[in-house]
Amino acid sequence: MNRYLKLVHLEVHRFRYALFSLMFLTAAIQITGLVHTTQVRVKGWREAARLGEHSTRNFSFADVIGDLQFLFAIPILISIVVLGLYVFLIWYRDWIGRDKFAYRLFTLPTVRRNVYMAKATAIFVFVFAMVSFQLLMLLLERQLFNWMVPSEYRMSSLFAEAVASNLVFVRFLLPLDGIQFVVYYGIGILAVFVLFTAVLLERSYRLPGIVYAILYVAVCGAAIGGAVYLNLYNYFYPREITAIRFCIYLMVMGFTLTLGFRLVSKKITV
C-alpha cells in the first residue's frame, strides 16, 4: 500500500506542469470570456437605462454562463483531449526516449499491479482535480461577476442554475443528477481500465498485440455500449435493467483488471 501511494505520488508529480497548464488555460479563457461578456452586458444595460428603455431585464450569473457556451467548452474539451491522450502516454513515456524508465518501474520491489493501479489512480486524480478546479473557478467567477455588475442590474441565481445553463457542464462534466454523475464517471473509469489493458496487450505482444488490443477494445466497447443502450423495458422493470447494466459493467471491469494485472505481472516486455 505504501509503495502504491508512493507510485501515485510519482505519477502525479510527473504530470504536474501539464496539469497546471490546463488549469491556467481554463482559468484564462473562462475569465477573459466572462469579463468581456459581463462588460458588454453592463454597458448595454447602462445604455438602455440612459435612453430610458425599461424593458431590459436584470441579468444573472447563470445568464452569462449560458452565453459563454463555446468559450467554456474550449478549455474543457482541450483538457479532455489532453487527459485522453495521457491515458496512453502515461505508459508509453516510460518506454520512449534515451532513459527508459520502464526498466526501473518494473524492477521495483513491489507487486506490479501497484504500477498499473498507480497509473490509473493518477489519471483519476487529474480528472477529478480538473472537475474540482472547474467548480472552484465557477465560485471565483461568480464573485468576479458580483464585483463587476452593480447590484441594481444583477439578478440572483443559484449555483446549480449556473451549472445547468451550460450544456458542456450539464451534459458531460457536472451532471446535476447524482446517479447520472456516478454512471458517467463510472463508465469513464471503466474506459480508462479497458484502454490500459489494451496498451498492455500491445506492450506484451507488440505487433500482434495491436490486433488483440483493437479487438479487446471493440468487445468491451460493445458490451459497455450495449449496456448503456439496453432497451428491454417490455420484459424487465427499470430497476432490473439497472441491475443488469451494473452486472455487465462489473463483469467488464473484473475481466479487464484480471487480464491487465496478469499482463503487467507475467507478459509485459520491456
Binding site: 509503495r3 508512493k6 510519482l10 510527473r14 526516449g97 534515451r98 532513459d99 527508459k100 524508465f101 520502464a102 526498466y103 526501473r104 518494473f106 524492477t107 521495483l108 520491489p109 513491489t110 507487486v111 506490479r112 507488440r206 505487433l207 500482434p208 507475467k266 507478459k267 509485459i268 516486455t269 520491456v270
Partner: protein, 229 residues
C-alpha cells in the same frame, strides 16, 4: 546462486534463447559473452522478469522471481533508467523510498567516488557520467547479486578504468556479479567465469582461471575459438 535451467524465449516466431543453462555464484564475477544479437541482454532481462520466458526456469537462491527478488538482485541496465527531468538527488531519494535494501551511506560514498553532482538532471548527463550514476543506483543497494548490462559501452578509457576499479573494491565485495560486455580484454583479469553465447545458445561455459592454467588460453582466445569457427 542465480540458476537458469533450459531457458527459452521467443520473440514473435523467432527463438531468441534456446535451452540456456548456466549458474552465476555469489562472490564470483560471471561474464556473458557473445557477438551482437547473441541474446546476452535478453538473458539479463529474463532474470529480472522484464521479458517472459517460454520454457525452462530461473531461480535465485532456489526461489522463483518475485517482488522480493528486486531487493536481492540489483539491475544496472545499459542506460540510465530514470526520468530525464529528475535531479540526481531526487533519483537517490526515489531509490531510498522504494528499496528497503538501499544503503544511503554507500550511495554517498559512490557519489563522491565518481565525483557526481547531486543538482544535475539525469537528462543532461554525458554518457560516461550517466553510466557512473547508473552504477551508483545499482551498487548502493545491499543486494546479494548485481546484474550489469554493458557497463563499459560508450565510455572513454579513463572512465572505464574508474568503473573497473569498482569491481575489485569493497563496493562490490562478496556479491555475485553477472555482467555482459564487449570490452573483454579490459575486464578479463576480473572475471571468474565466462559463459559464451552464440545465437541464443550457450556455446561454452568455463572457469577463466582453469582455462588459463590448463589450456594456457585467455578468454579472448576461447571466444575466438568458439564464436568465430
Amino acid at each position: 546462486m542465480i540458476e537458469l535451467v533450459r531457458v527459452s524465449q521467443k520473440y514473435t516466431y523467432k527463438e531468441v534463447l534456446k535451452d540456456v543453462t548456466f549458474t552465476a555464484e555469489k562472490g564470483q564475477i560471471t561474464c556473458l559473452l557473445g557477438l551482437n544479437g547473441a541474446g546476452k541482454s535478453t538473458i539479463l532481462k529474463t532474470i529480472m522478469g522484464l521479458t517472459p520466458i517460454h520454457g525452462g526456469s530461473i531461480r535465485i537462491d532456489g526461489e522463483e522471481i518475485n517482488q522480493n527478488t528486486y531487493e536481492r538482485v540489483s539491475y544496472i541496465p545499459d542506460h540510465l533508467a530514470i526520468p530525464a527531468s529528475m535531479k540526481l538527488s531526487d533519483a537517490l531519494r526515489f531509490m531510498e523510498d522504494f528499496y528497503s535494501c538501499w544503503n544511503k551511506d554507500r550511495a554517498n560514498e559512490l557519489m563522491r567516488f565518481f565525483d557526481l553532482d547531486l543538482d544535475e538532471r539525469a537528462g543532461r548527463l554525458s554518457k560516461g557520467t550517466a553510466a557512473k550514476f547508473n552504477l551508483v543506483l545499482g551498487l548502493a543497494q545491499d543486494s546479494d547479486y548485481v546484474i550489469m548490462d554493458e557497463p563499459f559501452a560508450g565510455i572513454d578509457l579513463f572512465n572505464r578504468e574508474r568503473i573497473a576499479e569498482v569491481f575489485s573494491s569493497e563496493l562490490v565485495g562478496n556479491r555475485g556479479v553477472l555482467l555482459t560486455t564487449h570490452e573483454v580484454k579490459e575486464v578479463e583479469y576480473l572475471i571468474d567465469k565466462a559463459v559464451l553465447l552464440r545465437d541464443g545458445v550457450v556455446a561454452r561455459s568455463f572457469e577463466c582461471e582453469q582455462v588459463r592454467s590448463e589450456e594456457s588460453k585467455s578468454v579472448v582466445d576461447v571466444m575466438k575459438e568458439v564464436l568465430l569457427t
